[in-house]
Amino acid sequence: MIDVKISGFPLDEAACIAKATDPACGGMLVFRGIVRNKTKSKKIVRLEYECYPSMALKELKKIANDVIRLWDVKNVVIHHRTGILNISEIAVIIVVSAPHRQAAFEGCQYAIDTLKKTVPIWKKEVFDDGEEWVSAHA
């Protein structure tokens, strides 16, 4: 089972876990990506996320399908938030459940690493004295 979603509202972690709950699965990984209070040494005020919804959903589905294809994983849930996020809010939740833990650990790591490289979502860091699109410039 795969379930991917992009939402402008706070993510529902309990719902993500419920979707990946499966009597055949003995291992479940829950990854949360959380807004940190600084980047390098600079204090962050908030993050602003934007996305290309149709393509982002397509890329998220590819990642979820690849996790199931490449590991012995049964369920992958990936929910990503967009809009304005404050410190300590959850930007992304990934839940991976598998019969055994190793596949869940590896599949979850692959999912977040690949999401950061391929999914058309962008974040802007807002500081007290300016702002910057992350990774835009070398």
């Binding site: 393509m55 397509k58 930007a91 999401l115 058309p120 962008w122 992350v134 835009a136 410039h137």
Partner: protein, 81 residues
């Protein structure tokens, strides 16, 4: 060919718009031709660490043809998660 471009993130700021009508001086344009024309019109885009072009929600490569009615998007370096 006249095409319509979608832009996101910093590309949106460089174009000053999330949607842009753009002329490529070819009847059979490729992604590389679009890149050249974009970089000539908006030199700021060359300062990005990289950028991709998507055709109909898929990353495209340089030789890919652009056809009328394709949905073309400019994808600056992504930073989700």
């Amino acid at each position: 060919m006249k095409i319509s471009l979608l832009a996101f993130g910093i590309a949106k700021e460089i174009f000053n718009s999330g949607k842009l009508d753009f002329e490529i001086p070819s009847e059979t344009p490729t992604v590389d031709m679009l890149r050249n024309q974009l970089e000539a019109t908006f030199p700021e885009i060359k300062k990005l660490s990289s950028y991709m072009i998507a055709i109909d929600n898929e990353y495209a490569s340089g030789n890919d043809q652009i056809r009328e009615n394709n949905e073309i998007a400019i994808i600056p370096p992504v930073s989700g998660g």
